[in-house]
């Protein structure tokens, strides 16, 4: 799948008038002779899963700020019936609060008849692809901590993120691109794509995203900087041809260094490889990120060029292109779901911005035959209270909320687990974030108990000592 103007193969040829060819011919020979298998494979090379994977790629649509489950994917008839009544004791310190029915109607969707809020007219049409997880829970009702747990399993420590674990476990499939890409992550949330103690090569490559302090309170979210791209991807000084000449010199010097070192040096070899990948990325990354070649119909599908949906539509389309290009894990962040007040207008604005793009993404992946290999996940760090806060808002609720998955080997048209009559707490098939992590990894063919990394003398895992795989949702 090498379509870049200067692929490694071509470089070997074009380099033949200088040092490149000899250098690489010798290098290839040494690689073959090298006793160390590390040099032959490299940390990003595809690795065998623990068992047959259902999904090869993940697109995590991360809704930062905690979307209200009772207004979106958790239909609560009793909440409607008891609208305005005092909240039950489960409401805890909000004992005097009043239950608030969702201002939006829920409709049965698809053959499966899943209840989905009218806030998602387009996504609702995909109900038969969706597995709605209604019994999510997380440890703390505080944004930064819960956002951290959502990504790393812990509210407190610096630990590798879900995407890093996936990449560490499986490697990647396109040598021209990073294996874990995160688009528009919030500011000050490097932990959400960091590799922590895993080797740095497993960390997410950030595209765009310069949020405001506080993780959960960023007021920007949603849109993506038009300029945003992989850092330093473009050379402002030289043509590709001239840069290749410069790089030939760099590589000749590297090769010379290696000869002086006795002909074998994993370190110098690593430098040589990383220059070639970087050089290929310069061509590949902008190409994947260039949406101009997409047809008008495709763009329309994602709501691109419509004011409301343009920003997230572009990100979703880009996610599809990254999947097509072989990227293992892609995360998109959409912010401002923290509706303490102004719920009606604000939540409608949020869902309006993502409904069509996500529906478009599902349609597009399906028609290209990619949905079966791609796990789509939607959700935020927790949910919101069934009672009102002020007259038009909802507070944080961590003991029960909803997420959904589609594609990549999950059963469609299904609700998994449930909350109590109002939506305060998960009461059936409870799925804590640890269970969710275990399940996501399992869908990718990884056993969360075997996916470990030894650090500071102990074997760490994403799920710490927890995690139960929800086998019922697997197709």
């Amino acid at each position: 799948m090498n379509t870049t103007p200067f692929s490694r193969r071509e470089f070997l040829k074009t380099g033949s008038n200088g040092f490149g060819y000899l250098a690489f011919a010798a290098l290839a020979q040494q690689q073959a002779l090298s006793a160390n298998p590390q040099t032959a494979t490299g940390p990003l090379a595809p690795k065998a899963a623990h068992f047959a994977p259902r999904a090869k790629h993940v697109i995590f649509l991360c809704m930062q700020g905690a979307p209200s489950h009772v207004d979106t994917f958790d239909y609560k008839p009793k909440l409607i019936a008891d609208n305005g009544k005092g909240a039950p004791s489960a409401a805890g310190r909000y004992g005097t609060a009043k239950l608030m029915a969702s201002p939006w109607k829920f409709n049965r969707q698809g053959k499966s008849g899943l209840y989905i809020s009218e806030l998602f007219p387009n996504l609702g049409k995909h109900a038969d692809e969706m597995c709605i997880l209604n019994s999510m829970s997380t440890d703390l009702p505080a944004h930064p901590q819960a956002f951290s747990q959502l990504h790393t399993g812990t509210t407190q420590f610096v630990r590798p993120s879900l995407g890093s674990w996936a990449l560490y476990g499986l490697g990647t499939m396109n040598e021209n691109l990073p294996g874990f890409i995160t688009i528009n992550p919030p500011g000050n949330a490097t932990r959400t794509y960091g590799s922590a103690f895993l080797p740095a090569i497993y960390q997410g490559t950030k595209i765009g995203g310069n949020g405001l302090p506080g993780g959960g309170v960023g007021r920007r979210g949603g849109g993506m900087d038009q300029q945003a791209t992989v850092a330093n991807i473009k050379n402002s000084r030289y043509t590709t041809e001239a840069q290749r000449t410069q790089l030939d010199l760099v590589q000749a010097l590297n090769k010379s260094r290696m000869q002086q070192d006795g002909g074998v040096s994993a370190e110098v070899e690593g430098v040589i490889e990383s220059y070639e990948l970087a050089f290929r990325m310069q061509a590949e990354v902008p190409k994947v990120m260039d949406l101009s070649k997409e047809t008008a119909a495709t763009k329309a599908l994602y709501g691109i060029d419509e004011q409301e949906t343009d920003a997230f539509g572009r990100q979703c389309l880009m996610a599809r292109k990254f999947v097509e290009a072989g990227v293992r894990f892609i995360e998109l962040t959409n912010g401002n779901w923290d509706q303490h007040f102004n719920l009606k207008a604000s939540l409608e604005r949020n869902t309006g911005a993502i409904d069509k793009p996500i529906a478009g993404l599902l349609t597009d992946l399906k028609q290209r035959g990619l949905l079966k290999d791609t796990l789509i996940i939607w959700g935020g760090e927790f949910g919101r209270t069934p009672h009102s806060q002020g007259e038009d808002g909802r507070d944080h609720n961590n003991k029960g909320f909803s997420m959904w998955m589609a594609g990549g080997g999950v059963k469609g048209g299904m609700n998994y687990g449930m909350t109590d009559d109002y939506g305060y707490e998960a009461v059936q098939n409870k799925m804590h974030i640890h269970d969710w992590h275990a399940t996501v990894l399992a869908l990718m063919g990884l056993d969360h108990e075997r996916l470990t990394f030894r650090y500071a003398g102990r074997d760490f895992r994403l799920t710490d000592v927890y995690g139960t795989v929800a086998k019922e949702i697997m197709a």
């Binding site: 040092f19 090569i201 993780g215 760099v250 430098v271």
Partner: protein, 840 residues
């Protein structure tokens, strides 16, 4: 021992008096007191409070439980003690009962009868006698009992013993005792040492290892020409004595001291005074302060004897080690926050100085090492009895500010700020008064609103008050920086003893809502000989001084070994113990245990001199070997565990950056006093500068150690080359080889401008092009180009200028520009090449 009198603590810190109180009442009760409690207090608690405030309630409110003595004393999330024996004013349970505080009226629906409230008053005044002791029989839950005698047998818990170097077969190779240890390992594994490094390679290695900078061309020439047997020692001493040595080796310590200038975590508040600790570390290494003294000062510098005000101030600054850790300032539960700070301190002290993960025993006995939860809370008591002063101001997302330590005006300390005029001081104060008034008015207006209106306005009213208060606090943060006459105050982060020390209860499962037995302050049992007293004497204050002397002691089996291993790791590329921060049961075992002991004991014998330790390692033949590949050796020992060659090592991010600036002659050795963070402003302003990247995005030209280090906002150049996470103790950095590094060196404007500066320097160098090429090579690599390299370079020169000249026209000026562009691209190639960032 003299006690310090430090006049000024800027802000009243959140005291953790609950634990003190918990300790105060261990004495038995009289039957009368017991009767009073059973008759008048317990029934009320059960009837009116337990519904929401007992471990059995379905929902514990406010984090407060009242069903055990310990929990009642401790209080809830507010951080205020629930009950302080003998002190009504410090008993929030009582205050709530009186309904005097509008925000806290308990029980919420019906105020208790006056006579009941009076009984509680009486009870507290008589010392709150309470039989409801929460007994923790076995903190490990009874599953595992740690056998201390067996635990002491772990290799690292036994004192190092200096052993005679082993006999070796190969005659003449070993130059020093270290070499005998190394060679014995080499021979035993059927390996052969490779040949020595050549002179240019060796001086480059020594220069980078000691100063973090490349040797100058003159230094290389002099060394290559110096044929005396003393040449190597001379060059080592020259670099050890240089100013740059302190800066470079301080940075190694800052990695394990998790140094940074902001809080990290959720809110990332700036710490504008953290740089004092950084400068203290630089100075300490420069002066070769004995390592035991260095450790003592960092744990208890405020309690040590001192010689004059300057010395006293320096020692206080040293305790910044305990204050600079990462913190979650937005935590609403102040007690939880305090325990998290203590946990962070235990973690940092134990990993950096002892190579142990004692913080693992916070919630349960250590899973692997013979360390009990009791040990943990014995240490916790020491830190809880000290006040951690890290500064910052109360803001919307900072619920946990603290004071700072004001250093004596006469102590001759550097100030980061310029003096301002007295009238400017007056103006600041005026601003503060006005801001305070505005905040008070905002609050008054909101409180005057009818309840309905207030609810309608919702968060807006809250934010209005909060915003006004934040503005006032922000101005205050400026006011506090100056004396009346406009001279800047010299403020430091650090630690001081509290007036009355206290012991900590064991927290069951680490949960502050489940306090158990109170543990006397003390040391880690397994590291003390059997029968040796563990506990801190009541006369010792917090016990930090005892802790400091205990760690920095020749009798401590870990301290010298851990440091000797750290120094070995930095010089040799891998540790004798490959897990430098974990010498416990599941850390890795030493590859050369006798050598490690030899180094540790020699280190102590030499007065804990780090410079002597470094010199001894560098003088060994093992250090001076080449790094070349050898197939036969490689087949047996690919990881070079037995040091049959020198490891090829990637330079650290700082050294790469400093070298990039140095080769262009643009490295500035005179940084501004203090740190840009000190001038960024506290409160909201400081936060904004963090998130606009104003502090981390600038193209500073001074040495990397002086660049602002904001947690989670590490400057790109440093983070791309594996700068460590500034919140963790990191004794061994990652070294990755990733495309983002290549992209940075090829395309980043800072990399390009470093190449331009290098090119300007080369262009100015007298001589013909061959001489200039040599000069460029000497600057970048400390050697001459090989024939093969010259051929590659001429090949580049044949192609590159034409390729870039195409669209530039043929004018003389355009040609000159193209020529310079090619020279810059060539210089950039040298910087970008592997050799620039690797040590051979």
């Amino acid at each position: 021992m003299k006690t310090l009198t430090l006049s000024l603590i800027l802000l009243a810190p959140v005291a953790l008096r609950a634990a003190e109180a918990a300790e105060a009442e261990h004495a038995g009760m009289t039957p009368d007191q017991l009767q009073f409690f059973e008759k008048n207090i317990r029934p009320v608690l059960v009837e009116s409070c337990y519904k929401c405030h007992s471990a059995e309630s379905s929902k514990v409110k406010g984090g407060l439980t009242l069903d055990t003595k310990q929990a009642t004393l401790l209080g809830g999330e507010s951080g205020h003690p629930g009950v302080t024996p003998g002190n009504i004013a410090q008993s929030s349970v009582y205050e709530a009962m009186t309904w005097k505080n509008e925000d806290m009226q308990m029980p919420p629906k019906q105020k208790l009868p006056d006579d009941v409230i009076a009984n509680f008053k009486k009870w507290i005044e008589m010392g709150a006698p309470d039989p409801r002791e929460n007994q923790v029989v076995n903190a490990s839950g009874g599953k595992r009992v740690i056998d201390m005698e067996a635990g002491r047998k772990h290799w690292a818990f036994q004192k190092p013993v200096k052993q005679e170097p082993p006999a070796v077969k190969t005659a003449g190779w070993a130059k020093t005792e270290i070499d005998q240890f190394v060679l014995a390992g080499i021979e035993a594994n059927g390996l052969r040492p490779v040949r020595d490094a050549d002179r240019p390679t060796l001086i480059r290695r020594i220069a980078f290892d000691l100063t973090g900078l490349p040797p100058t061309p003159d230094e290389v020439k002099a060394f290559v020409a110096d044929q005396s047997p003393e040449a190597v020692k001379r060059v080592i001493d020259m670099y050890l004595d240089s100013e740059r040595y302190g800066e470079h080796w301080a940075r190694h310590w800052l990695d394990v001291a998790r140094y940074a200038e902001s809080s990290g975590k959720e809110v990332n508040v700036l710490y504008p005074h953290a740089w004092r600790y950084r400068d203290y570390v630089i100075e300490s290494f420069k002066k070769d302060k004995p390592y035991d003294q260095f450790l003592k000062e960092q744990i208890a510098g405020d309690l040590l004897k001192f010689d004059g005000k300057r010395d006293q101030a320096n020692k206080i600054v040293a305790t910044g080690f305990l204050a600079i850790g990462s913190k979650g300032h937005n935590n609403r539960d102040r007690r939880q926050f305090s325990m998290d700070v203590v946990d962070e301190q235990i973690d940092a002290v134990s990993q950096s100085m002892l190579g142990l993960t004692l913080a693992c025993a916070r919630c349960h006995d250590h899973k692997f090492d013979p360390v009990t939860q009791r040990d943990y809370y014995a240490l916790a008591g020491i830190f809880l009895s000290s006040e951690t002063l890290f500064g910052t101001y109360e803001q919307l997302q900072n619920n946990n500010p603290a004071g700072l330590i004001e250093l004596d005006r006469e102590a001759g300390q550097t100030a980061a700020l310029a003096k301002i005029s007295p009238s400017e001081v007056a103006e600041l104060k005026g601003n503060y008064e006005r801001a305070k008034t505005a905040a008070a008015e905002a609050q008054k207006e909101v409180f005057a609103m009818r309840q309905q209106d207030r609810e309608k306005a919702g968060a807006a009213s809250f934010l209005r008050i909060r915003g006004a208060r934040d503005r006032a606090e922000e101005v205050k943060s400026d006011v506090d920086l100056f004396y009346e006459d406009g001279t800047p105050r010299t403020l430091a982060m650090g630690v001081l003893d509290r007036t009355s020390p206290s012991n900590s209860p064991i927290l069951i499962r680490g949960d502050i809502k489940q306090p158990g037995d109170v543990v006397p302050r003390g040391l880690v049992e397994v590291l003390c000989a059997k029968g040796e007293p563990l506990n801190i004497s009541p006369q010792s204050g917090s016990g930090r001084l005892d802790l400091a002397y205990w760690i920095a002691s020749k009798d401590n089996p870990l301290t010298a070994r851990v440091m000797a291993n750290r120094v070995w790791l930095k010089l040799m590329g891998s540790g004798i113990v490959p897990t430098p921060d974990n010498f416990g049961a599941i850390g890795q075992k030493p590859s050369h245990p006798e050598l490690l002991d030899y180094l540790a004991v020699t280190f102590m014998e030499n007065g804990w001199s780090v410079k002597k330790l470094i010199r001894e390692i560098m003088m060994s033949r093992a250090y001076q070997m080449g790094s070349g590949y050898d197939a036969a050796n490689y087949a047996v020992d690919p990881d070079n565990k037995y040091h049959w060659r020198m490891n090829q090592r990637r330079l650290e991010a700082e050294a790469i950056r400093d070298a990039m600036l140095a080769v262009g002659g643009s490295l500035n050795f005179y940084p501004v006093d203090g740190s840009p963070v000190a001038r960024a402003g506290e409160g909201r302003q400081g936060l904004i500068s963090i998130f606009r990247g104003e502090l981390s995005g600038k193209a500073y030209t001074y040495r990397s150690i002086y660049i602002p280090i904001i947690r989670d906002q590490i400057p790109e150049m440093l983070s791309v080359f594996d700068y460590p996470d500034a919140s963790l103790v990191i004794g061994d950095r990652d070294t990755t080889n990733v495309p983002s590094q290549s992209l940075y060196l090829m395309n980043n404007p800072q990399a390009q401008s470093a190449a331009d500066a290098f090119a300007v320097r080369i262009a100015k160098h007298p001589g013909n092009s061959a001489e200039r090429l040599s000069y460029a090579y000497e600057l970048a690599f400390g050697r001459e180009p090989t024939t093969q390299e010259k051929a590659a370079i001429s090949n580049f020169w044949m192609r590159f200028p034409q390729q870039i000249a195409k669209d530039r026209g043929t004018s003389k000026e355009a040609k000159a520009q193209a020529e310079f562009a090619a020279l810059s691209a060539f210089c950039q190639s040298l910087i970008a090449s592997a050799e620039f960032r690797y040590l051979n």
